[in-house]
């Protein structure tokens, strides 16, 4: 994808972000941004700059997460929490339609989009890639498309990546290159701001800004480079998807199954995992029914159940399905990997299973055999 910078970079004071948030609210956007919630940084409705987790940082390890305070009041001094855009564009519970029985037949009431568009603050490169992927997955889905159409995105360049991040391996970060309306790079004193769309340009009309100096551009480069260098985790994509197709019967899958909790956390926090199930609920009198689509996961035992059998009864096969889908099938399906290297599945796995290490183990044990 191409860089889509709209004009020369600017610098703004940090407080000016508050003006932008207010302005977006005034224009009718539902502004969503990072905010502290239960010892984590989640994405939630925000109305003012004070709602942002100013000064917070996060420590993420395999199966562990904690917050700490920076010495400086950074606005984006942390990396991704468990939430991603999918929570808003493909909500966990999506009502599809309601049915009212009539004497002959039934009346269908489709839940049309009626909200105001979302404006997302602080979205990172990995999640923008995930958004791009969801756009492909839900290309024909009317509910997703309705939510997606008018969104506004203020992205940030990720300069505090976590220990579980590996976006450089997936070529999806830490630098934001596309898919934003506004892009921030956080300096100690101010933000470097780049504009990616006409919408973005309109949003900063009343905001005090000045043209960025050449040194600022260099500073941004430097921050991104050191951020990139600080990311130690890697995922070796060499030979994918063929490698995994060759390894369906690798005994290592059974080893993972011993540790795998089948709890579904990895798929729920994954910004691209889209699997869902639609079900009917009906009133006792049978006169009304509602069809609801909710997040599901290939880790649920009945996910591949058909009449007469289950295609994936074992944990071994379910983990294999997840990893193979993410890293291999996805490439056949959509032309890109389903993994954006955000590391959420590693942080939020209660059993501490690390997709990068498991792939490595499959690779090595495959070679040995």
């Amino acid at each position: 994808m191409k860089h889509n910078f709209y004009m020369e970079p600017l610098t703004i004071r940090k407080e000016a972000l508050g003006d932008i948030i207010k302005d977006l609210s005034n224009r009718g956007y539902r502004v969503i941004g990072p905010t502290v919630r239960g010892g984590t940084i989640g994405l939630d409705n925000i109305t003012a700059i004070e709602d942002l987790p100013v000064g917070y940082g996060d420590r993420q390890v395999t199966g562990g997460y904690s917050l700490f305070k920076h010495e400086r009041p950074y606005f984006f001094g942390f990396s991704n929490g468990p939430d991603s855009l999918k929570r808003f564009l493909n909500p966990p519970y999506q009502r599809l339609f309601a049915i009212k029985k009539r004497a002959k037949g039934f009346e269908t009431m489709i839940y049309e989009y009626e909200g105001s568009p979302f404006a997302f603050i602080g979205i990172r490169a990995c999640d923008l890639r995930a958004l791009h992927i969801l756009d492909m997955v839900f290309e024909k889905d009317p509910f997703y498309q309705a939510e997606r159409k008018e969104i506004f995105i203020i992205a940030v360049n990720c300069i505090f990546p976590s220990n579980t991040c590996f976006c450089p391996s997936m070529n999806s970060g830490p630098e934001v290159k596309y898919g934003f309306d506004l892009l921030l790079t956080e300096f100690d004193e101010d933000f470097l701001m780049e504009v990616g769309s006409k919408k973005g340009l309109n949003a900063i009309e009343g905001v005090h800004h000045k043209e960025a100096a050449g040194a600022d551009i260099e500073k941004k480069r430097g921050l991104i480079d050191s951020s990139s260098k600080s990311i130690k985790k890697t995922l070796d994509t060499e030979g994918l998807p063929t490698l995994l197709y060759r390894e369906f019967e690798n005994p290592w899958w059974a080893d993972i199954a011993n540790r795998d909790l089948s709890c579904g956390n990895c798929t729920m926090v994954c910004p691209t995992c889209f699997c869902n199930t639609s079900n009917d609920t009906s009133s006792l009198d049978g006169k009304t029914a509602t069809r609801i689509r909710c997040w599901d996961s290939c880790f649920s035992v009945n996910f591949a159940l058909v009449h007469g059998g289950n295609f994936r009864p074992s944990r071994r096969a379910r983990y294999r399905q997840w990893m193979t889908h993410k890293l291999a099938y996805w490439i056949n399906q959509f032309g890109v990997s389903g993994c954006v290297g955000c590391g959420r599945c590693i942080t939020w796995c209660p059993a501490g299973i690390d997709i990068t290490e498991e792939l490595m183990a499959i690779r090595i044990s495959g070679k040995r055999r």
């Binding site: 919630r37 239960g38 984590t40 989640g42």
Partner: protein, 252 residues
């Protein structure tokens, strides 16, 4: 068309599950309009015997008399549903299965010889065929309504058996295990409660029983890294659904 006959029975239990019916507020009226509530000692004085379309059974089997009663109920029931942890997994009182009943009797009653109790408190399914098991201590009202609605529409209840984590993550509740190191049973516990406990910043204690494919061994290892002793981990599993978790525990 005749309304299907509904019966509610209580065995060894706390009444909490059957009382989710009056707790349904308007739902109670809906149930009374759709079903002929033929037998429900807790709410209704007239006892109508005969064949029941659907029987909701609360409580575990813990006395010799209860074995006789449940067999008779099964004979007279088309679709038998257990409601709650007692009926589905023996309940909290199944903790006695792990100990000596004689000592338990002595510890509690001044005249233990008067106490007529079976050695084990066991789920209904141990004695008779059960058509559907609704887990939970207590069951959720939504779950019970779904069971009743699905019975009326002749379809399988849309009730899932995967982990509490599914629900927790959908609700956007921060994970107490990963973010706070609290030994939460969510990853191996069946969904259905609405993932309430983690949303209160505390651990799931497994009141909906084991999930469909619980990896107890793996979660136990994680608990060990949090500093729990082997005995403490055993206690975690020996709670409301001790009998059900114990079945898996033996295997792993």
């Amino acid at each position: 068309m005749d309304k299907p006959r509904l019966a509610v029975f209580k065995f060894t239990s706390c009444d909490g599950c059957q009382l989710s019916i009056p707790d349904m507020e308007r739902g109670l009226v809906d149930i009374a309009n759709t079903f002929d509530i033929a037998y429900f000692l807790g709410l209704k004085s007239r006892k109508s015997t005969g064949y029941y379309g659907i029987s909701l059974v609360e409580g575990s089997i813990s006395t010799p008399d209860e074995i006789k009663r449940i067999r008779a109920i099964r004979e007279n029931t088309h679709y038998l549903v257990t409601i709650g942890a007692c009926a589905t997994a023996g309940g909290l009182q199944a903790l006695r299965n792990l100990k000596d009943l004689g000592a338990f009797k002595k510890a509690v009653y001044p005249k233990p010889e008067h106490i007529d109790a079976l050695k084990d408190s066991l789920p209904i399914s141990h004695y008779v065929h059960v058509d559907f098991e609704l887990w939970g201590c207590p069951i959720s009202r939504e779950g019970l309504l779904e069971v009743l609605a699905s019975f009326l529409r002749e379809r399988r209840p849309n009730i899932q058996a995967y982990s509490v984590c599914f629900e927790c993550k959908r609700k956007g509740t921060p994970c107490v295990l990963v973010a706070q190191g609290i030994p939460c049973l969510g990853p191996i516990t069946r969904t259905g409660c609405g993932a309430i406990c983690p949303s209160y910043g505390r651990d799931c204690y497994g009141c909906f029983g084991p999930s469909e494919d619980p990896n107890i061994k793996s979660l136990s290892l994680r608990f060990e890294t949090l500093g729990l002793s082997k005995d403490e981990i055993k206690l975690r599993l020996a709670g409301i659904n001790s009998y059900a978790f114990g079945k898996y525990h033996g295997k792993e």
